[in-house]
Amino acid sequence: MKIDIHVHTRKVKSGDAPTRNIEKDRFVEILNDTEVNILAITNHNHFDIKQYGEFRDGVESHCQIWPGIELDVFENEKRSHLIVICNPKNYQDFDKAVSEILYKKNPDTFTISLKETVEKFDKLDCIYIAHYFVKKPNLGDKEIETLIELVSNPKRILKEATNSISAGIYISHGHNSIYGSDVQNWDDYLVQSQDLPELRLPVESFEQFCLLLEKDEATISTILDKKSKESIELFPFKSDPFEKIELDIYSDINVLFGSKGTGKTDILESLSKYYNSKGHKTSVYKSNDNHLNVVFDIKGNSFSCNVSDFELEECVEDIKFIKEVTEEKVTTLNKYELHFSFQETNKISQKLKIKNITQEDEAQSERILEEISEILDSFKNFHEYTNENPNIPKYVDPELITELGVLLEKILIQLKDGTEQNLIENKSIILLNGIITCFNNEIAKKTNQPPKPTKTGFLEYSRNRIKIEKASKKIIKIINQPLNAIEEYAGSLGEKGELICKTNLIFQNGSFSNGDYSPVRNVFKTPQKEFANVIDSISKHIHSNELFSKITELNDIENIGTIGSLSDLLLKYKHFTLNGRIYNPSNGESSMILLHKELADDKDIYLIDEPEKSLGNDYINDVIVPLIKEKALLAKKVIIATHDANIAVRTLPYNSIYRLQEEGKGYTLTGNPFTNSLNCIYSSRPSLDWKEISMKTLEGGKEAFGERGKIYGN
């Protein structure tokens, strides 16, 4: 929620830029794209009630428009600018008052005294914002004193700074300060609006804003109560197990601060136990507990993956086959000689021509039968699926389902016929071969003639080699494929770039050598390499008599039993990369990334102990604080124990829990920056000033207050 208390919508004075002019439609369009929820129209010596009404109605769903004016004040012989913003309820009276003071006056030359200004506007419930110091033309301290004396409520006077830094400086010196866009060119407003002050509390009205200026506790409580909170009772302290504390934990930022040894970590641990007992899964994030290398398992000790993760085959059966395969027998020609050299004298034998029939190949017809059977099974399953799934008619036209049914029936009949035919063919071949063998053997027994060989052996011999060739080539093809590295986002190193944890994977293909790589599985590197080399050699000896000596070589590899699939040939190398180059993050960078990772994880409850450890201010300010604020906007519970003012102050926590040890006794005080007080939860000691304690206790407290002006709420 952003606020802009200084906006021009018209070129009024001759010195005004014409780019200050803006029409309603464009104004609405621009405002829709910004986070500005409160905007005061403050033209130079001018108020246009019609335009005010149009603009207000145009953006009423998401932005309050307050009526105002930037007056040329003439006081103590000095000209300066004073913004007067009026309660929108009184906009008509405001218009009247403006018309009266400007009657027959030229805005270029118009001036008004502070006295007259207050007389005209104070009764209309206004806020005064004076150009101050470097914001020219400015009111001096003397003129501001005069204004304070004149107005009914001095808390309604703010000093306008030029930017967040100067506003912060004024605030740290006790001046109520704010700044606005003072828009010169509406083309730049989208960008400009990003630097406008942010309202940490969701202000719903002009009145509420005014009460916030007065640090009205009831108003602040009302606003704070809109955020859900939970009252939790804890016995967190190891040093005093009986000390009970009651804390309100907001679905927002809750900061735990106090000197070292006051039990902040105990509170976080205890909160974690409490939330876990309620079914949440929380743990306290402790900076420096771990190094990034351990969290990302950079040594890869627990890394595991399978080649199937890359949609590649494991080749388990192929490897098993190659390891176990034996040579097929062949028929030598002298077996034929033995048969044919025997004089066939038996008359019956001579008549039995069946023994002369050549045997047919069974394997081929078996393959065809298997193929068609598989197709038939798949169609059967699909047919059953279309018949039995009750949900199909919900999404598919019943007519189409019927049509499909008819078609499937036809296909099934065709496939069944084909299967039957192939089955008959296959069985016929088996029977035929069986009969030929049987007759040959029986004739041989009766006649003493050696049986006629039924096959040369070429079929089985070659089929075996084809299978070896197929398996070895398949393995070689896969292990020579590159694998995509697995990349995991580690986190941001700010301006340096994004840190990526990269796991490089490669197959040992027999020629790969790189000491950085280690096997993914529990396998030694030597058998990996030797296995790949021998498989390659096998594939080159398919048509050689040495093939089976290569297979023996494979089985002789030491620890060959550890290689049973292609996953066993995988090698990995994990490392971090920054901008594409290998990078070793330092301890500080490790802390940065881990904290960023913790906050980037989507959780409901974040328990963080001293996130600032090992981190630079820039990283805390630029990366961590915005992340924490984002969690607050999403109504997450963020509970941070910290010594760092950047976190404890700049996030403007809804809840500050201060732990204090005094004379051996522990006290818990709670409060917030808006009321600027810290009250003891048991009222057993006086309240403390939030700002004073924060500045005293927190590291970098003064600087944080000095630069805090961008967030308006104190």
Partner: protein, 97 residues
């Protein structure tokens, strides 16, 4: 389909079936029980089959025992060669030009 020549080489000590495959003809001894000799021949036939299907035709005029043996042997071998060539094609293991 290509037809390759097969002949019978009759010598005093041994008789061979000579298959005209590849650059050098293969000799299979008919009169010896030597599986390695047959395997070497099969290796060459298998390698040659990758180039395309062929069959052996016996060119021999003698109607003796060896002729009988070789006719029968080649008859069986040609049938098996055909089956293996079909498998080579199916598994895409043939030499593509």
């Amino acid at each position: 389909m290509e037809t390759k020549k097969a002949t019978i080489k009759r010598e005093e000590s041994h008789t061979y079936l000579v298959l005209d495959v590849g650059d050098n003809p293969i000799q299979i001894t008919l009169t010896d029980d030597n599986p390695n000799n047959v395997k070497s021949a099969f290796n060459l036939i298998l390698k040659e089959l990758k180039k395309g299907l062929f069959e052996f035709a016996l060119e021999d005029e003698n109607l003796d025992l060896y002729n009988n043996i070789c006719v029968e042997y080649l008859n069986q071998l040609n049938s098996e060669i055909k089956s293996i060539h079909a498998e080579l094609e199916e598994y895409e293991l043939t030499d593509k030009e």
